[in-house]
């Protein structure tokens, strides 16, 4: 049965729900927003109520952290009900201009940041980057991510990985400016048609490259490809998995040391959704002098930073403490000097929170690749 001909109830298996409340119980945003995802799963059964439900402001509070889906005992994905309601709003055209522009930009330029496609590879300037060509065999085919490609704050992730790869002699290649958005945020914003198109086009695009595997720099692309691209003909991994392999083979040698306390924040798209917990930690532990701390709420119990679910383009109405702030305060209480992450969105939300709290002097938020970049031998 095609998605269109299914009712809401069938599409999201609403009758499978036993109203146990595990979804809402685990939802991180309940401490600051009115969102109760269980009630949406319950109420969406009544078709005549859907329009009213779609107009509830809180459907935009969901960060797509997927905690509700991971915890649901009956295999539902409660957040998808919210995304389905968002889709109704998108279809009606009554969306915030920020969202509209981001989606428009994906359609026209292949990225949500309203940047020109031609500028996608600008970050490569001055670097010796190997570029992939369709049909030419390569072991690791890198997918950069729109945010890392365009946002100067996180471009270092890509730059440093190129430096490191050139150093270790790993067989790799990057895509040129034909690389297009994975659609992670398009999906969570509820633009179903555009997302379907991206999946189709990107699948065809990737399948022409003869690579052993695709390596993503952002966990959002990593999980999106793994979950929503059933026809990709190669496996997709996150770069921390590749680097951890190299580390275990003894191929990563660091110069200098970092006598600091580092706490790692598990990105939802890498940990809860991707099941990758140990690799980023192993990499951090390999930095000479570094001491790795753990949040009380780590790994499977990690707290979301509110970076996903299209939240980059929709402001929450809540004035209560942001989860990223909670996270930074927890890090401060632990005595951490560095909050390390492995996701460009986490860098942006957590750094914002840190600055807002005025901890800039004593603390730093850094992506793992930013940190490692400092220890690559010249």
């Amino acid at each position: 049965m095609s998605a269109e001909s299914q009712t809401f109830t069938e599409r999201y298996d609403l009758l499978g729900c036993i109203q146990c409340g595990r979804c809402t119980g685990g939802c991180p945003v309940t401490v600051r927003a009115n969102l109760n995802v269980r009630r949406f799963v319950n109420d969406a059964y009544y078709e005549e109520k859907l329009d009213e439900l779609a107009r509830q402001a809180e459907i935009w509070d969901c960060t797509a952290c997927h905690t509700c889906a991971v915890r649901c005992p009956k295999g539902l994905k409660p957040l998808e009900v919210l995304l389905g309601l968002r889709a109704m709003i998108i279809e009606s055209g009554k969306v915030e201009p920020t969202v509209r522009d981001a989606l428009q930009s994906v359609l026209l330029e292949g990225n949500p940041w309203e940047k020109s496609r031609a500028a996608r590879s600008d970050w490569m300037e001055g670097l010796d980057v190997k570029i992939a060509e369709p049909g030419v065999p390569v072991e690791n085919l890198f997918f950069v991510c729109c945010t890392i490609a365009y946002d100067p704050r996180v471009q270092a992730i890509a730059k440093n990985i190129v430096r490191l790869l050139n150093k270790t002699g790993v067989d790799y290649a990057f895509l040129d400016d034909s690389e297009t958005c994975c659609g992670s945020e398009v999906y969570t914003l509820g633009e179903e048609g555009l997302f379907e198109m991206l999946v189709e086009d990107n699948t065809e695009y990737f399948n022409e490259y003869s690579a052993k595997r695709i390596v993503t720099l952002s966990p959002h692309c990593f999980t999106t490809y793994n979950v929503h691209y059933p026809d990709l003909n190669k496996p997709v991994i996150h770069y921390t998995q590749l680097l951890d392999e190299l580390l275990k083979e003894g191929k990563l040698v660091w110069k200098g040391d970092l006598p600091k306390k580092i706490v790692f924040h598990d990105p939802c798209y890498l940990g809860k959704q991707g099941g990758v917990y140990d690799e980023p930690r192993d990499l951090l532990k390999s930095i000479p002098g570094a001491e790795l701390l753990e949040f009380e709420r780590c790994r499977e119990r990690s707290l979301c930073c509110e970076g996903g679910g299209g939240k980059m383009w929709v402001e929450s109405e809540s004035k209560k403490e942001r989860l990223a702030e909670t996270r930074i305060k927890d890090a401060k209480a632990l005595g951490a000097d560095i909050v390390a992450v492995a996701c460009p969105f986490c860098v942006l939300t957590l750094e914002d929170a840190m600055k807002g709290l005025g901890y800039e002097e004593e603390m730093r938020v850094a992506e793992i690749m930013e940190l490692l970049g400092e220890f690559i031998e010249a």
Binding site: I18, Q19, C20, G21, R22, C23, T24, G25, G26, C27, T30, V31, N36, R38, R39, T67, V70, R71, C72, P73, K74, G75, E296, R297, R299, E300, R301
Partner: protein
Amino acid sequence: MTEKPKVGVYVCHCGINISATVDVDAVAEYAQKLPNVVVARTYSYMCSDPGQSLIKNDIRELGLNRVVVASCSPRMHEPTFRKAIREAGINPYFLEMTNIREQCSWVHEDKEEGTAKAKKLVKASVAKARLLEALESKEVDAEPAALIIGAGIAGIQAALDIADAGFKVYLVEKTPSVGGRMAQLDKTFPTLDCSACILTPKMVDCASHPNIELMSYSEVEKVDGFIGNFDVKVRKKARYVDFGKCTGCGDCAAECRVKDRIPSEFDQGMGKRSAIYLPFPQAVPAKYTIDPESCLFLTRGKCGKNPKCQEVCRAEAINFDQEDEIVEFKVGAIIVATGFDPFDASRKPEYGYADYPNVITGMEMERLVSASGPTGGKVKVFNSEEEIEPKEIAFINCVGSRDKSVGNEYCSRVCCMYTAKQAHLIRDKIPDANIRVYYIDVRAFGKGYEEFYDRVRRENIRYIRGNPSEIFKRGNKLVVKVEDTLTATPLEDEVDLVVLGVGLEPRADMRQVMDLLRLSQSPDRFFLEAHPKLRPVDTATEGIFLAGCCQGPKDIPDTVAQAKAAASSAMIPLARGKVMIGAQVATVNEATCRGCGFCVNICPYTAIELVTVNRFGNEVEVARVNEALCKGCGSCSAACLSDSIQPKSFRDRQILPQIAALGAMK
């Protein structure tokens, strides 16, 4: 075959089960015209007394010598109709069943399609029925003894019943003592009898019963044979303690060099034991055992100057030269009563069981409230800073049950009630504690259960509807992240102690027994019974029965009831002293058999062996079937390259015309 086949066809309505989707009259009319069919009739319930009489009368009056019954699955009523035609004087194997219920009416919606298919199937059955041969089943002697694997309450009860009836019982228990999980429980719901008080007498009985041979610390290694005649091989593991000499005084354990350093399995790791140990004070047999994994002498070859236990044992019972012993015996029936494993709570990392000492399981709580437990019955927990008496206590139901995310879709049936029981016991011990139970649905279905639940709530135990999602620590409190679904309020509930109501899982080591006895699993991975309603303690293999939680989660009353049922079923062949063996077995055409042995290797019941025969003066090998072991599955026939081995009633010359008949009709 000299006699001309005269076939009667009987089409069953099965009430409206069949007739609603299959035009039974049209099928009978069609059958009437098939070759060799003398009569075709329909009836509302063919299996009923009048239905059977209809067939019997026709046999007598019309001289029928073949019968086709078009009704339900042969698994259901083949024996019924075999018996009926035998009573009317024809060989019971002159019967062919056509399944027009499961294969037609239940799977079709369109009556025309259903009817057309039913006609086809009947045509095929008639084609085969004409070619059936007369078969005789044989009787062999049955050994008047039973093997019971596992000595929890299920195994103990079954053993006592069979032994009391006068038969020999071999009771094999893997651990050093009988008792199983029930021995670990404090009080039992809903009556709150003390578990040890009602269990210990039975444990003692099964050690002293003249008809029971108890083999503790033993495992079944091999089972061959068939109902009435199973050959069993058991390995009695070395205890390194002379069973005859040990007086159970415990001097050895008191002096053992690793005393109080080894986690006690019985106390769920919360208490400690020595390397030489009795699992718990009331253990049966009351004989000590040296744990080879933790004994200094057995792991490192050295325990001080001399093994301490040996030095202090006045009975001179310690014997490090002891070896495993293999014993072999014969039984007529087997009962599997291997029980369950509690769900491993670390498989739900969001509950922090592996991280926090004050997140414990229901099994641990049983030991904690028990007067004989590691704390002497005081409910004390370590909140990772100090030992405290908890005041804020939360129970969580359905941990590891009803949960697809851990692969267990079933309800474990006891956790709602044991949670209520434990809440009650804590209320007694800590009167001012705030106790809440987080639940999804409360399942209090047994006798006296709802009443018990009513009572417990009125003891100021709060039942909050919502299944917690996460537990983490804040200061020295545990935070339970949960939604009160009745008021739609997300909560961060701060408590001192969380008790996880872990469910029951199939044992992690069940495969060994499964392979040993060729048992199957149901979708929930517990052992599969032969029929969920009508043969609940039987397995697909005759003479092998199931009892207790190895078949699925259940409470003690249901476990005991099932154990008694398994015992009485197992006693049928023992009491008769004889068993019938199947007639539909494979036969070998020795003239064409090449002795290649393909069938020997393929037979899942090891029923075939190669024997040497004299063929025209030459010694040649040919296959021979042990008819007592053969189940007529046909695997050998499919493997044989020269068509030399074929099951009776399913020979090529019988089933090929049947298949041809199916194909020939549009």
